[in-house]
């Protein structure tokens, strides 16, 4: 036994390379073979064999790097080195499922500048993908090199295995799992074929495409589709649909089995999480796990419904800066709430039954891992769930659940040894990885603490030592001294295993002007050593008298945190306390603007039942159970509809890189937290078409939304609206105002714009013909040929040709308007709406003949060359010539006074008031092809309406209530309450931060969502390079 203890002591603070490191199985014999045995028995420990399973006074046996036995009745076999672990707790080694361990990190992209020339192509090497953000072909295990320093850093936190791939790009390559110890990479690899890591950010790619979030999503969609196609097509020799044999593509080859490979998708917040889930679900990647953000609590129901495993970082945010009153101007309620609630996120997910693992990812200082995890426990996370999040859950995510994550026979001997309860205040002392011991502190260190009586120059000195060996303090008094005599502190106390040295200044103790130096050792409670004095050495011995035990028993942490913040829908200022609910309501005695042939009806009642207009008439009786609104003196209009809006769009409104980007979808990047939705409601707007920007002739797919404040992104979408798309003409698409770097992309002229659009449609027709021919083949014939590749870019154009998708085209001057009509007639498609169309008054006749509508600004002009002929009577002149005209905003500010914009046509050119109101209700509804559902007050239509305090076209009108589908989303009186509540909540949270003092400052300053900018048509630039630069135009549309 003594021998075992000595060998143990010698290993303190060192990594032991005794055993487990077998000679490599495939290296020829070189030199002397290491055959040191490694049989270990850890005895007397509290052992968590797996989450929820705890053994007291148990023994764990390790043989050849694996657990050979665990239990309370296991005896130590002969030949085993026994380690007394009776003061300790043993946990299974932890697994971090999301790291770059053992892989060289990517070099970040050089900070870009808008003056840099755009990069349209990826350098092709081997069989790489056409886009530089796709690294799917990488198997990162090929690059794996154990990293002693990084492994030690992770082991200090208790991690014994990690899953790794490079964090770079959209498809990042296949991860692998390795043990966190030294050795040959070959023997450390636990799983060479892990999941594909994925993210939205293009990382170090210098290629311009994708420059927006929707571009990234489109690229993912096309790539996953291509992978399916490649799986079926590669190797087929039939060239009926391709001029050449199918090319080799390593990225697609790797992805062709992604369903089996699995995926881990890194997300930035709750919106990003739900978006990634949606996208992966499209491709049936239901097993993919998601790297979370700490924001999951905000949309807990949706997160739960995903039925996915999460990987949670613990980078809790530093409190917003509120120490100085002036700085509080820059602090918002959502951030204060998140500061308070982020530590409770894990507990909230656990309570909802969402499985998750924990990761050190995103921690700028990995040392914050345990303090933050304990904070999560104080916020209600149970120790068992936390342990599962460190062991069994990540083991399952990483595909190594049969090897690690439990203390069970046959499992790899990966252990964490800690004092007490690690989830309360325990400390990690050592880890074993593959049976290799890595000590962080000495196990069972020599206990020096106690009283000793030592002779010194004929006097008896009482020495008292306190604390653990590595933090020893001590003092001395003369035994004969009076009780109140001051003790003298020992100096330079130093221990090494059993050896003890210290200095004692005798001047204060006995008046003897010298410093006595002690040098000795403690063996079996007997201290023996020498005093070194000016007069020579003096040998002494003393018996250690242990101090009374002052340690308190471990106490489990009880959640003791009281949260004062609210969670609202959305979770920000002016969010609603709960999702708004549909009401049956009887509106009495309003002036009703029908936007139908009935015109304006005085003193009229409207009954709303089950979300629809049920009855319109005078003196109606109130159905039982209906709420009543007395609307005397008020005006009721349809909810206003905006044909052209860019609110509620996240991370880029333009994929302004390629000239044709019909594959990108605004519907992929809705931002339901945009306060402009609420502001729009307060201005009487209920519905908007969110358009892609105007950076390219054929832009992205649009999304019609309803302003259902509080719903998540999917809940905003208006299902009744058919698909639409943005086209653009003129200055923006020819990059006239983008600066000198942008002179290369075709087209640079209006002449080239025509050709660009023609060429794209010709390609779409050829593509469609290919698809049609393939579809005519018999099943047997199809098996023999490579199927045509689905091309989302061309697919959208085919939908246009098939009249399934409708064009809204940004346009200004007469020539381009006529050109597009002529081109459309030639190619067999039609223009649904010319938007902006400031010279529409010059071409209204031709537009009417084509059947196109017009959506224009009331009075914008002069901000660029192509709006120099814009006039405020444009709407009237177009309407006069039979064009269906609407007024749009293209601006979050204008969107909340569309009624005032419509009124300008009454003022400038005498349009009738009812016709003017139609320009912001039924007319845009017709343009969006939702006039069968909304846009007017008509029995059977969806109850989208606004109650105004006065004439809705007057500058003095204000929306009092705004309803969508019989649900009230804005009420001017409730708004006042929300204002008061948010101010009170904010004040309370500021107090909480101030009371927390310096502790509140610790944390990640970048762990908050960024407020989105107000997007405009021409805002283009590389979203992924924000932080470096972004090219922005102001005030032009």
């Amino acid at each position: 036994m003594t021998k075992a203890r000595l060998s143990l002591l010698s290993s303190a603070l060192l990594t032991v390379f005794t055993a487990g490191s077998h000679a490599d199985q495939t290296t020829p014999l070189q030199g002397i073979i290491d055959k040191t045995p490694n049989f270990i028995a850890l005895t007397g420990a509290t052992v968590y064999t797996e989450p929820g399973k705890k053994l007291q006074n148990a023994t764990v046996l390790i043989a050849d790097g694996r657990i050979s036995a665990v239990g309370t009745k296991v005896s130590v076999p002969a030949g085993y080195q026994q380690i007394d672990a009776s003061r300790y707790t043993l946990y299974p080694g932890f697994i971090d499922p999301y790291t770059q361990y053992g892989i060289e990190a990517a070099k970040p992209a050089k900070p870009g500048s808008y003056r840099d020339a755009p990069v349209y192509k990826n350098e092709r090497k081997g069989g790489n993908a056409s886009n530089a953000a796709i690294h799917a072909e990488h198997n990162w295990v090929d690059q794996f090199q154990p990293d002693s320093k990084a492994a030690a850093e992770l082991r200090k936190l208790g991690f014994t295995a990690a899953q790794s791939a490079r964090f770079d790009g959209i498809f990042r390559g296949q991860a692998f799992v390795s043990a966190l110890t030294d050795g040959l990479p070959n023997e450390l690899i636990l799983n060479p074929n892990g999941p594909q890591f994925m993210a939205f950010s293009k990382g170090s790619s210098k290629q311009s495409y994708p420059s927006s979030l929707m571009g990234s999503i489109a690229l993912i969609r096309q790539t996953l589709s291509d992978a399916n196609w490649y799986n079926q097509a590669y190797g087929k020799t039939d060239v009926r649909y391709f001029n050449e044999p199918i090319e080799f593509n390593a990225a697609l080859q790797s992805l062709s089995n992604i369903e089996r490979q699995g995926a881990i998708f890194e997300t930035a917040d709750d919106r990003s999480l739900l978006r990634a889930h949606q996208l992966l679900t499209e491709f049936k990647l239901d097993n993919a796990a998601m790297v979370g953000s700490g924001y999951e609590y905000v949309r807990l129901d949706e997160v739960k419904a995903m039925q996915r495993k999460l990987i949670l970082p613990l980078n809790f945010p530093a409190a917003p800066a509120v120490e100085q009153v002036a700085d509080q101007l820059d602090v918002n309620l959502a951030d204060l709430r998140h500061w308070e609630r982020a530590p409770a996120n894990a507990a909230a997910l656990a309570n909802a039954g969402v499985p998750f693992a924990l990761t050190t990812f995103k921690l700028k200082d990995k040392k914050d891992f345990w303090p933050n995890l304990r904070k999560a426990v104080q916020h209600g996370l149970s120790a068992d769930t936390a342990l599962a999040a460190l062991t069994t859950v990540p083991a399952a995510i990483a595909g190594v659940a049969d090897k690690v994550g439990k203390i069970a026979p046959g499992y790899q001997a990966d252990l964490v040894l800690a004092t007490g309860d690690l989830f309360a205040d325990g400390e990690i002392i050592a880890t074993w990885v593959r049976g290799q011991q890595h000590s962080i502190k000495a196990i069972a260190p020599v206990q020096f603490a106690g009283d000793y009586q030592l002779n010194l120059n004929g006097k008896v000195v009482k020495i008292t030592l306190k604390g653990e060996a590595d933090k020893l303090s001590g003092e001395a008094t003369l035994l004969a001294a009076p009780a109140d005599a001051k003790a003298v502190k020992l100096q330079h106390i130093h221990t090494q295993q059993q050896r003890l040295q210290f200095n004692l200044n005798l001047t204060e103790l006995s008046g003897d002007k010298q410093i006595a130096q002690f040098n000795g050792q403690l063996l079996d409670n007997q201290l023996s050593g020498l005093w070194q004095l000016t007069t020579g050495s003096q040998a002494v011995t003393a018996q250690r008298q242990p101090l009374p035990d002052s340690s308190t028993p471990d106490k489990a942490v009880k959640p003791d945190v009281k949260l004062i913040s609210s969670i609202t829908f959305p979770n920000r200022a002016y969010g609603l306390p709960a999702l708004a609910k549909q009401q049956n309501v009887h509106i009495k005695n309003a002036t009703v603007w029908t936007a139908e042939q009935d015109g304006v009806l005085e003193n009229t009642d409207v009954i709303v039942r089950n979300g629809k207009f049920d009855k319109i008439g005078k003196n109606l009786s109130t159905p039982r159970g209906f709420d009543v609104i007395d609307a005397s003196g008020m005006h009721l209009t349809p909810g206003m509809i905006d044909e052209h809006s860019h609110v509620a769009i996240e991370a880029g409104v333009n994929e302004g890189t390629d000239a044709v980007t019909s594959e990108v979808r605004i519907g992929d990047v809705l931002n339901p937290e945009d306060i402009n939705l609420y502001r729009g409601l307060a201005g009487g707007t209920t519905t908007a078409q969110l358009l892609h920007g105007s950076a390219n002739p054929i832009g992205g797919q649009a999304q019609v939304i309803q302003f259902r404040w509080g719903e998540s992104a999917e809940g905003l979408k208006m299902r009744a609206a058919p698909p639409s798309i943005k086209f653009a003409l003129g200055e923006n698409v020819k990059q006239s105002n983008w600066g000198d770097a942008f002179t290369e992309r075709y087209p640079q002229t209006r002449i080239g714009v025509e050709t660009t659009i023609r060429d794209a449609f010709v390609a779409a027709k050829e593509y469609n013909a290919k698809l049609a021919a393939y579809n005519k083949l018999s099943k047997r014939q199809r098996e023999q040929v490579a199927p045509p590749r689905i091309d989302y870019r061309l697919q959208a154009l085919v939908e246009i040709l098939n009249k399934q998708r409708f064009i809204h085209t940004h346009s200004y001057v007469a020539s381009e308007i006529l050109m597009l009509i002529e081109l459309a007639d030639e190619l067999g498609f039609s223009i649904t709406t010319f938007t902006h169309i400031l010279e529409g008054y010059k071409t209204a006749k031709e537009m009417a003949a084509h059947g196109a509508s017009a959506s224009t600004f009331a009075d914008w002009w002069a901000y660029k060359m192509e709006v120099q002929d814009a006039i405020p009577t444009n709407a009237c002149l177009m309407a006069e010539q039979g064009v269906n005209v609407s007024i749009n905003s293209d601006d979050a500010g204008l969107q909340r006074r569309l009624n005032q914009e419509a009124a300008k046509s009454v003022m400038y050119c005498g349009m009738s008031e009812h016709d003017a109101l139609k320009m912001v209700t039924i007319n845009p509804a017709m343009q969006l092809k939702i006039d069968g559902v909304t846009g007017s007050i008509k029995v059977g239509k969806q109850a989208d309406f606004v109650l105004w305090n006065t004439h809705p076209l007057s500058v003095y009108s204000q929306a009092q209530q705004t309803w969508i589908g019989g649900t009230k989303y804005f009420d001017i009186n409730i708004d006042k309450q929300l204002k008061q509540q948010l101010e009170a909540e904010k004040a309370a949270l500021v107090q909480k931060v101030l009371n927390a003092g310096d502790a509140a400052k610790a944390g990640d300053k970048d762990a908050y969502k960024q407020e989105e900018p107000e997007w405009h048509c021409e805002d283009q630039g590389d979203w992924w390079q924000i932080g470096q630069h972004l090219h922005r135009h102001s005030h032009s549309h």
Binding site: A573, K842, K845, Y863, L877, G893, A903, Y956, S1036
Partner: protein, 436 residues
């Protein structure tokens, strides 16, 4: 060659223009000086300073208001204009914009609004004011008679002038020269731009550096002023020389600032040098309205149509600022600080009525208050005997789309042509419709 080609094509266009000149005058001709008395009768007169007077007549002689009352007798040779039931207002005044300095924002060659360097107290916006701008007539036709134009930029931007909007050139447009020195206050928020985010500490440092630079400019200018008084200056520093009037209290300081912290810093500086301060922008002015009133700091509020400044602010926050300033007793005027959109300022004032102002208060914010801030309240801004006959007639309530219809505008008694490019293009294309 390119230059020659452009010139050639322009002259061809000019000749072509001459040929059709008789059909549609390309330009509006400035009104002739008043030569005989003009009596306007039967109006609802919004005097601004003396209430609203129904069924009232106004007599204009030599470009000035000669009499105001019911049943005024027409002097000999007077033209009598019966305007029964229409509304008469002073010609509206738009403060702090770039009218006449920018023709087409995206075309650099038409933009004279913004000079380089941070020390331009010696530049004067008026000299680039294009009296023939196509934009100006579209502003007049909505009732505006005056505009105070300023040079944009950063820090010490230069001097503004008040212009009347019916002139042959900038010289006869100037009503008041050097109405103020305009300063764009450095950023004081800790938030970096969304387009170029930086850590708060970095932003704070950059802010402090900018503020220090601006304060140093004032120290230097004051040193020049002190040396000038003592006869010590060895030459003319044109920058600081143009600031003598500022330290003399003859030229007020217009500080463009929106953030509360900026406004407080500007107030300290104005206090230090005892300068007359007006804040331009003033989005946060509601947060310290009482203090602004007490310190007699005026505000040209430029966001009457604005979105809230911050995500946590109420949807109507920017709309209710005028009412807050009014209640606190702050001297304020409204502006849209742009150029072509100045014509909408009258409706922005109307919306401020919806959010709390009275009709008269809103009218003051685009007439007499503006005149006071521009230092010309003794001449314009209200309908009073002796003041300039700069008057506008509207069929109905000038602030509301449902009433606004400007039928007459006089500036100093000169009848202003209310035609504009928009009406001309409208008429032209009405012809296309008529031709079928």
């Amino acid at each position: 060659m390119t230059f020659n080609k452009i010139c050639l094509s322009l002259s061809v266009a000019a000749i072509a223009g001459l040929n059709i000149g008789s059909a549609a005058a390309h330009d509006m001709v400035p009104g002739k000086a008043q030569s005989s008395p003009l009596l306007l009768t039967g109006l609802t007169v919004h005097t601004v300073t003396n209430g609203v007077k129904a069924d009232t007549d106004v007599l204009i002689i030599d470009g000035k208001i000669a009499a105001l009352g019911q049943g005024l007798a027409a002097p000999e040779g007077a033209t009598v204009l019966a305007l029964d039931g229409k509304h008469l207002y002073p010609g509206l005044i738009a403060l702090a914009n770039q009218l006449g300095l920018i023709e087409i924002e995206a075309v650099r060659s038409t933009d004279d609004s913004t000079e380089v360097t941070q020390t331009n107290p010696d530049i004067k916006a008026k000299v680039a004011y294009n009296a023939d701008s196509e934009v100006i007539p579209t502003i007049r036709s909505n009732g505006f008679a005056y505009s105070m134009v300023y040079p944009s930029g950063s820090m010490l931007m230069g001097q503004s002038s008040l212009m009347q909007l019916d002139a042959w050139n900038y010289q006869d447009a100037v009503v008041a020269d050097g109405t103020g020195l305009h300063v764009r206050w450095p950023n004081a928020s800790t938030l970096g731009s969304r387009w170029n985010p930086k850590p708060a500490d970095e932003v704070r440092k950059a802010n402090a550096k900018q503020l220090e630079a601006l304060q140093q400019y004032f120290k230097d200018a004051k040193a020049y002023y002190d040396a000038e008084q003592a006869g010590l200056n060895k030459g003319v520093d044109s920058r600081w020389h143009e600031m003598l009037a500022v330290f003399d209290g003859k030229r007020p300081l217009f500080v463009h600032a929106d953030d509360e912290r900026q406004i407080r810093q500007a107030m300290l500086l104005a206090n230090e040098y005892q300068l007359k301060l007006t804040i331009v922008g003033g989005r946060d002015s509601w947060r310290l309205a009482e203090e602004l009133a007490a310190a007699k700091v005026a505000v040209i509020y430029t966001a009457p149509y604005g979105l809230p400044t911050r995500g946590d602010e109420n949807y109507s926050q920017a709309f209710v600022v005028p009412k807050t300033l009014q209640d606190a007793g702050v001297q304020y005027a409204l502006s849209l600080d742009g150029y072509w959109d100045t014509r909408n300022l009258v409706f922005a004032a109307g919306q401020a009525i919806s959010f709390g102002l009275t009709q008269e208060q809103a009218l003051r914010s685009v007439t007499i208050n503006a005149a006071q801030i521009a230092g010309v309240a003794d001449k314009i801004g209200s309908i009073e005997v002796g003041k300039a006959a700069s008057l506008v007639v509207s069929e109905g309530d000038i602030f509301d789309y449902l009433g606004h219809k400007v039928t007459h505008l006089w500036i100093d008694g000169r009848a202003v042509d209310l035609n504009n490019r928009h009406k001309q293009l409208h008429d032209k294309y009405q012809q296309r419709i008529n031709q079928g």
